[in-house]
């Protein structure tokens, strides 16, 4: 990636090379697609009916929620002193199919999707599914683009804990069902089951989209506290994802610092690398005041 960044021409070369590779990638993925298509078309009638019923129920629930949401949005706008309701944050969206997830080589979690620059996809665009945040685009070719998932070890999402509003960073682990939160202090107020939302910092994702739920917190006297969260998006067996474009004028749109001034809009912004290890506040903090042993009450120890 260092080489890729060094010269503009390499990026261009890669753009055309990946365009040339796309037909072969499609061909390679076609057996899997054909198998899925066969399965889809041979689904039994009852399965379809139950699915249909479930979807109808979900639709009803969502419309009920939406009614309430409209009222809330108006109320929110009034409280903020705005004349009219704010524009919708998600400007428009596009469904994309997953062509290859063979990129899941070792620890890397990447996908290839069938939408590219010709569909208006840009680098560093948010990718979601119906349940939460999935990742962002890292490389865009004319007809396809590569998506890095939030669970890739090189990916980090700025998040806030919904219950307390504490901001932190969720880093991928390479394991498709866990994220780790390495930058929270040992005494942070966090509980299993807390919802993590995007915080809107970092310039890629807008504020307030669900990312993950805290799964477990492991206190250890000799090591930093380990906090693990499970992504809400269904990262395994992905077939379809959603690319989202956001309204830059919305207050919850991703913030972007330019010359010390916070502006919104992020078209030129790239993915966020994890902070370098020597920038971590934790070791310095430790050196000044050795962390007090975590108070363990007997009841707590019992249920471990």
């Amino acid at each position: 990636m260092a080489l890729d960044r060094r010269g503009g021409w390499i990026v261009h070369a890669r753009y055309y090379l990946s365009a040339a590779a796309y037909p072969l990638q499609l061909a390679v993925s076609s057996p899997a697609q054909a198998w899925r298509w066969t399965q889809d078309s041979l689904t039994a009638r009852e399965t379809l009916q139950t699915q249909n019923a479930a979807l109808r129920q979900r639709d009803r629930e969502l419309s009920l929620k939406l009614m309430r949401l409209d009222a809330l949005e108006r109320e929110n706008a009034e409280l903020r002193g705005l004349r009219g309701a704010l524009p919708a944050l998600a400007d428009h969206w596009m469904a994309a199919e997953v062509v290859l997830d063979a990129e899941l080589k070792g620890a890397r979690q990447h996908l290839l999707i069938n939408r590219g620059a010709l569909n208006g996809v840009f680098k560093g665009q948010a990718v979601m599914d119906n349940f939460g945040l999935l990742g962002q685009t890292t490389r865009v070719s004319p007809w396809s683009s590569e998506v890095i998932l939030i669970t890739d070890p090189e990916h980090a999402v700025p998040v806030e804990i919904d219950r307390t509003g504490v901001h932190t960073i969720a880093v991928g682990t390479g394991d498709p069902d866990s994220l780790s939160l390495p930058y929270l202090p040992a005494n942070a107020d966090v509980k299993a089951g807390d919802l993590l939302l995007t915080s809107g910092l970092g310039g890629v994702f807008p504020q307030g989209y669900p990312v993950a739920r805290i799964a477990e917190i492991r206190h250890d006297a000799t090591q930093p506290t380990q906090i693990r969260a499970t992504p809400l998006a269904h990262l395994e067996a992905l077939h379809e994802v959603t690319l989202v474009w956001f309204q830059d004028s919305h207050p919850a749109a991703p913030t972007h610092q330019k010359d010390g001034v916070t502006t919104t809009g992020n078209a030129s912004l790239q993915r966020q690398p994890a902070p370098a290890l020597d920038l971590l506040p934790v070791p310095a903090f430790k050196r000044l005041t050795p962390a007090p042993p975590v108070p363990t009450n007997p009841a707590h120890r019992d249920d471990q």
Binding site: M1, L3, D4, R14, L24, A27, V28, G106, H110
Partner: protein, 159 residues
């Protein structure tokens, strides 16, 4: 000695494309971890048996193709594959005469060297992948070498 084989570019390209498809075919993760580097093995085969047709140039372009398909740093596989094909071409006369078992051992060494170059570049460019799984394919590649040579010999026209 009259060369009865036809080391035409067409055959080389055919095997290379088939090997490329095999190397990027989506497989379940456990199978994908033990998948031999088919393209690397094919390029090595051609560098040893027909160094004039498939040589360092072939290695370079195949490596570039792997980079594009794998989404790796552009030039990573290209450098690694060029390096090992260089050695293979230089030593091709010695390697060609060895029995299959010894050839497989040499391939093990070559594949480990290949993976080591990738490993080093991964580290230098700031995304180290230290999982021991990444070395497995060298072993499976060496195991599959006798079979691969049998198939490729047939394609080449020698029996």
């Amino acid at each position: 000695m009259i060369d009865r084989t036809q080391d035409s570019m067409g055959r080389v390209l055919l095997t290379v494309v088939v090997a490329l498809v095999l190397s990027v075919l989506p497989l379940p993760p456990w199978l994908s971890a033990v998948r031999p580097a088919f393209l690397v093995i094919t390029v090595l085969y051609w560098s040893i048996t027909a160094p004039r047709v498939g040589g360092i140039g072939l290695g370079f372009f195949c490596g570039l193709a792997l980079d594009v398909f794998r989404g790796a740093v552009l030039g990573q596989n290209a450098l690694a594959l060029t390096a090992i094909t260089y050695v293979a071409v230089r030593e091709h006369q010695k390697i060609r005469l060895k029995p299959s078992f010894q050839q497989a051992l040499i391939m093990l060494g070559a594949l480990v060297a290949y993976e080591f170059i990738l490993f080093a570049i991964d580290g230098w460019t700031g995304h180290p992948m230290t999982s021991p799984l990444r070395w497995i394919h060298a072993l499976t590649g060496a195991l599959i070498w006798p079979l691969a040579t049998a198939v490729l010999d047939r394609v080449r026209g020698t029996r």
